[in-house]
Symmetry: C2
Subunit: 383 residues, 2 copies
């Protein structure tokens, strides 16, 4: 569904480097625990203007990381996860904006998480890492934004769990957010989302190689993480997209094998997703990040969704996708309606897409003009 | 949503006994293999009339068995899986009809399956049991119907995988089927259904206690089967029903535990479902039965859905349920449309229900008058 992108500055942001910010001042967590030291891995694209007013913070989803755009090396097979949206002439236009993306705490791509060294033991935290929340992730990000000398972000933007973080920014730090772009997201995790996440955690924690979380240095719980990822993948796609991509096609030949092995193309696809996820993701991070997602409940925090939305200061753009059944249109509409009731400027578009929840990453052509225009409006007064 | 059932002959069918039919003549399977000896566990309710014309065959779903109605002992906590529908004065009226239900081959409730003794080795088949199909299940059932001296069934009826078998009966043995009642079912397994089943099998087969299927006599793969069942359960419910039943309620107290353990009520419910399933179901049977479901593709067998439906002789009643996203309304509508194009008598009703796929087992009050009337019409000429 994605058109060729060669008309958008094919070079994109080019070669980028991962950066790190580490601080020793304790980060207080919602659980009451604290974390110290804390490292955030981050990347930036474009240049901060002298007024420090052109910064946009991108927030990543469950399996994402700080690498939103460009390549770390010319040999990289794929660019960052939102490369199609970030670069010269792209919606997050690096000729105009200073774009930042950091790996969440609890993650496994450079930020402090369960695979990090516990300073008290000298060994990886494992399951002794404190349980974190979306609020904790964002509180850590405020330190990064402070360190970059930025008082107020022009915008925050994210899809799925990235949208949770963007909403957290807009409600917990409204004076620091010029505007919010929320894609395929929700103000709370539904019981169905909790169910899928919980089953994934169950699969990981019952893999004997999980060893109570202390598998570092030995074989990790690959089977559990694969099953968790496979469940996730089905929820990211729509039934029509599975029909179109795979239907009932067999992976090899056209006759049933009459064995218990995987043989449909959709099974091979899921198996590949499960296995490749194991090469880049830490099972404990999957546990902690999905737990943070399950805790996400903005209406409960402020008493109601309306009370939460009353805190938002800048304009909000919400994009949902018609075939997304994990974070269906109604979840975005509820946020938009609450913002409107509170007199806040809000635009909600439900985009026609067959790609399911993944549409926010895939159907970039649908989003480009809308996000470009929203940012143009926000940036009108930039000096 | 189910009203009290006391106005329907509260005693139901009373105490019932499981019966067995065993034969040694080889049962040919679609794979080319054969199975011998074969045992079918079955139950019957009501009396076969002298003309042998009042028999109705009930077909069970993935986790069902031959125990459709009544209790095996006065102390049984629960009656059979469709007790609300079977008995004196109930839709499958045992004062009028002779109702039969058998456990499918591949199953684990008395019929020949992977936990049965392999006559060549004297040990349980395990993963050496031949892979079976819905057609094989039904071919075995024809032997039971033959043995009961029944040439033609007044009706076949089943939901979900039971509907697959009813469709198989109506197309492979149309002259033996007076009419078909198909609930929450489909003419083929969709790639999404295959995906869920496959992930469940992946969880079972990667549980180290599965041991290639040879776990009988040792600890079974409880964690794998629990995860498979938990996935299944989410697909059987609807998002609205999860909101109503559980919402974001915590199982204990009203504060987050900030631990990795299960704490939401929906998690406890799923865990309970996974654990209790382990007390009554064999993991290998789960592998074989879900594989048979994945192979289910009636249009492929006959060239098209229309060609398949052209084979049906008696009238067909289709019931779908508005919130069922596993076998959504469109799947029933496709069958109904094909039957109508072929000039076959067909009635399709989409019943309003929030119970998801499970509605066919739960929302019996919606189904009672419709099924009663359909059977009345079929039985009009009974002597």
């Amino acid at each position: 569904m994605t058109a060729p992108q060669t008309h958008f500055a094919p070079e994109g942001v080019g070669i980028v480097h991962r950066q790190y910010l580490t601080w020793t001042e304790a980060l207080p967590l919602e659980s009451g625990a604290t974390l110290s030291p804390v490292t955030l891995a981050f990347e930036t694209y474009g240049e901060l203007n002298p007024a420090r007013s052109n910064a946009i913070l991108l927030l990543h989803a469950l399996s994402g990381d700080a690498h939103a755009a460009g390549r770390h090396s010319p040999n990289d097979r794929k660019p960052g996860w939102w490369d199609a949206m970030v670069g010269p002439g792209r919606p997050f236009d690096t000729d105009r904006y200073f774009v930042i993306c950091s790996n969440v705490i609890g993650g496994c791509q450079g930020s402090t998480g369960p695979s990090s060294r516990n300073p008290y033991t000298g060994r990886p935290f494992g399951a002794r890492f404190p349980v974190i929340t979306i609020g904790d992730m964002v509180r850590a990000q405020t330190r990064l934004i402070d360190a970059l000398g930025i008082t107020r972000l022009l915008a925050v933007a994210g899809g799925s769990m990235g949208g949770f973080q963007a909403l957290e920014w807009a409600t917990a730090y409204p004076e620091r957010v010029g505007g919010s772009i929320l894609l395929a997201t929700s103000a709370r995790s539904s019981p169905q989302t909790i169910a899928w996440n919980s089953i994934g955690r169950r699969a990981i924690m019952s893999d004997p190689r999980w060893r109570g979380g202390d598998y570092y240095g030995s074989e990790p719980p690959c089977d559990g993480l694969a099953v968790a990822r496979m469940i996730g993948h089905v929820t990211y796609l729509s039934e029509p997209s599975l029909e179109t991509k795979f239907g009932r096609r067999l992976q090899r030949g056209d006759e049933f094998a009459f064995s218990l092995e995987q043989e449909f193309a959709v099974e091979s696809y899921l198996e590949y997703q499960g296995e490749s996820f194991n090469t880049r993701f830490d099972a404990n991070s999957y546990l902690y990040i999905t737990k943070a997602m399950d805790y996400w409940d903005l209406p409960a925090r402020y008493g109601s969704l309306d009370a939460a939305m009353a805190r938002v200061q800048g304009p909000t753009l919400l994009l949902s996708f018609s075939s997304d059944w994990l974070y269906p249109t109604g979840e975005s509409r509820a946020i938009a309606d609450a913002l409107a009731r509170q007199g806040r400027p809000v635009e909600h578009l439900d985009l026609p897409s067959g790609a399911g929840h993944d549409a926010f990453l895939i159907d970039v052509d649908l989003q480009r003009p809308i996000i470009t225009e929203f940012l143009d409006d926000l940036a009108r007064d930039l000096v």
